[in-house]
């Protein structure tokens, strides 16, 4: 593991532990009250979900172009994180929505696009797990198609009425709410990096094991 890993992991863990206290110190939002505090975990995980999708897509393109297995490992790790953070987003969102909007789920542009993108991520992992040998390239093509599909999914679903908070909410937040939000975003970003590195490491070790088995067979 590289030198930066342990200090970053420790810092990430400390920030994650401290985050409920930071969030508790934030002001109450006037219309939604206590339940709005889900936002401080929901939005950073939504951002990490998007970042994971981009990392997976770009790594897949590089893998298809160069065939370098490092890109494939990064794509796999990012794909798993996409599903993890997507799951967090898709569960915390409805829990917040139940109180804020009165209903668990609404078929508006952003929620539906997120759901479909998450399902493409799950399909990616299913393909890698059950596709048998040679499924790395197929999965990379799927990731590429998934990434290219995002604007289409969004536009096609956007035709329906949307009640998701507008993206301009973030810059207008007062400091007491802005600071916990950015604190949580930083925490989740560090968590993303730590988890990605950890997962890639597993694959690297596995590749070494496979190479050793092959060299044993050759004897």
């Amino acid at each position: 593991m590289p030198k930066w890993f342990t200090p970053v992991a420790v810092m990430c863990g400390a920030m994650l532990a401290a985050s409920p206290l930071v969030i508790a110190s934030a002001d109450y939002e006037s219309t939604m009250g206590l339940v709005q505090k889900i936002f401080y975990y929901h939005m950073p995980s939504a951002w990490m979900f998007l970042i994971a999708a981009m990392v997976c897509g770009v790594a897949s393109i590089r893998f298809l172009a160069t065939g370098d297995p490092r890109h494939d490992r990064t794509a796999l790790a990012a794909g798993e994180l996409l599903v993890v953070f997507g799951l967090i987003t898709l569960v915390t969102g409805p829990l917040w929505a139940r109180k804020a909007w009165g209903t668990f789920w609404i078929w508006d542009a952003r929620t539906t696009s997120s759901l479909v993108s998450w399902m493409i991520g799950c399909a990616y992992l299913i393909l890698r797990r059950y596709g048998g040998p040679g499924s790395e390239k197929l999965a990379a093509a799927l990731a590429l198609f998934g990434m290219a599909n995002v604007p289409f999914i969004y536009i096609s679903v956007n035709y329906w009425r949307t009640i998701h908070p507008a993206t301009t909410v973030v810059p207008k937040l007062p400091f007491t709410m802005g600071f916990p939000l950015w604190f949580c975003v930083t925490t989740f970003a560090l968590l993303f990096v730590v988890l990605l590195k950890l997962r890639v490491r597993v694959e690297e070790q596995q590749a070494q094991v496979d190479a050793l088995y092959l060299s044993l067979d050759e004897r």
């Binding site: 508790a24 109450y28 006037s30 206590l34 967090i88 139940r98 988890l195 597993v202």
Partner: protein, 102 residues
């Protein structure tokens, strides 16, 4: 592995305390925005009668607990896999060394 388990136990304890401290807070009195005359369908949540309000705490705690459970479960899974692969690597390394000597 033991260090990791200990770390995770401490973290869970601190996080649980944090979550409970958030949930236990009483909302401080906010300056009431006067509802305008035209807009009488929409009532701010702190003006609704108590029986029409939904309890927010279960939703909030549920959300936070879910996030932590998912994250920890994933970290555990990856860490355990890393450990088993590391063990296999060491085992193979020593087998190769013995094979080389023999």
């Amino acid at each position: 592995m033991k260090m990791l388990k200990r770390w995770c136990a401490v973290l869970s304890l601190v996080l649980a305390c944090g979550v409970f401290s958030v949930a236990a807070q009483q909302p401080s009195p906010q300056p009431q925005p006067q509802p305008s005359q035209q807009n009488n369908d929409w009532i701010p949540i702190n003006q609704l009668p108590p029986q029409e309000q939904m309890a927010a705490a279960p939703l909030l705690i549920g959300a936070y607990v879910f996030v932590l459970v998912v994250l920890f479960a994933y970290v555990f899974r990856v860490a355990r896999r890393l450990q088993s692969v590391q063990q296999e690597l060491d085992r193979l390394g020593s087998t190769l060394k013995q094979g080389g000597r023999a």
